[in-house]
Symmetry: C2
Subunit: 214 residues, 2 copies
């Protein structure tokens, strides 16, 4: 009984959260978990987890739950994490430096492989053994290393220009920290991280509460 339905993107976005929780369970030496227990850890219902996983085959046994290590391995394989992904990071300001120094990537299949900036004072200096390169070299350097993933941490005014260089370099997926929507061809994936927008989506609720109180 094969299912050939394509999983919606919202399901793909949840898989890494399942994987992360399973990794914690494994660290805690938990070997088996029900969809109920897994769901509580990530605020998703048990039914949702079962439905999400059903796109990818049969996992777990009714009444027994999932084998934590096995399910983690399966999800990591689905996400392509049975290999390491080199990533180019463009923009080494405060945020870029924090990203370059973040230890959490390496343990989870992501390797920051190239750093770029346009500031002559930064170009040629090292972070964690990687030399910051002139960002006019993005295309050559990324192609040489076969890098398909990039993180943009430049100011909004430069984001589109950098995105264009990345697309020319053959990059197929971009994580964009610049507070600016970038335009890319249809075959390039873009996700956006924007803390201001996230905070504003919560001030909405706080402001309503204040109105009620006053």
């Amino acid at each position: 009984m094969d299912r050939i339905e394509t999983p919606p993107d919202v399901v793909i976005r949840r898989l890494p959260l399942y994987a992360r929780s399973l990794r914690y369970l494994l660290q805690e030496d938990v070997r088996s978990v029900s969809s109920q227990e897994l769901g509580e850890r990530i605020n998703v219902t048990a039914a949702q987890i079962r439905k999400d996983l059903s796109y990818f085959g049969e996992f777990g046994k009714q009444g027994i739950g999932y084998d934590v290590e096995k399910l983690l391995n399966q999800i990591e394989r689905i996400l392509g994490l049975n290999q390491e992904w080199p990533v180019g990071l463009i923009g080494i300001g405060h945020l870029g430096e924090a990203i370059a120094r973040y230890e959490g990537f390496r343990r989870q299949g992501i390797r920051i492989a190239a750093l770029f900036d346009s500031d002559p004072n930064k170009i040629g200096t090292d972070i964690n053994g990687l030399t910051i390169q002139d960002d006019t070299h993005i295309e050559r350097a990324m192609r040489e290393q076969g890098v398909k993933l990039a993180i943009i941490a430049v100011p909004a005014t430069r984001a589109q220009e950098v995105a264009d260089m990345l697309v020319s370099a053959g990059v197929r997926a971009i994580l964009n920290y610049a507070p600016m929507v970038i335009q890319v061809p249809e075959n390039v994936w873009v996700r956006h991280i924007d803390p201001v927008a996230v905070l504003h989506s919560m001030t909405y609720y706080l402001a309503r509460e204040e109105d009620k109180e006053s």
Copy 2:
């Protein structure tokens, strides 16, 4: 014809993106915009924009489009951005420091008002004129300043402990950068920013492409 329907959270999450695009349009001196044009800037359909805004009343005129400045003011008022929101930031590592130094908050209704860390070498030092405080003082300091919003940028192992302190301090909304789901009471909002999970949701697509090519 009043609509009293409560807007779903997904709509609330999109409002800040509309506001951001309208701010750019205003900077470019664009005075009027159609839902079509606005939609193209944020990869949302015109119909979606009209539906989202319909939760909050009547905006724009058929065939004329929206007055950019007026719509921006209305959305900012809906999001509670006609006031400034003080925010407590806990964890002043590389990421926390980048957040503390980020200029983009202040221009958009967010003021980093208090910094906390547990490292004796950091406590007492200044960033942008704010002194890093001992994080055991969170409850007193946040209450004194009436801070309802907080950003967690501590390691995963400390995130829940810090979240508990914030809840005790009366914080009602938390932006969590720690790679860990935190448990809070129902009346507290939490949003999560996790770059590893975001990257993993794209490696899925890249891995599938490689499979096709090989």
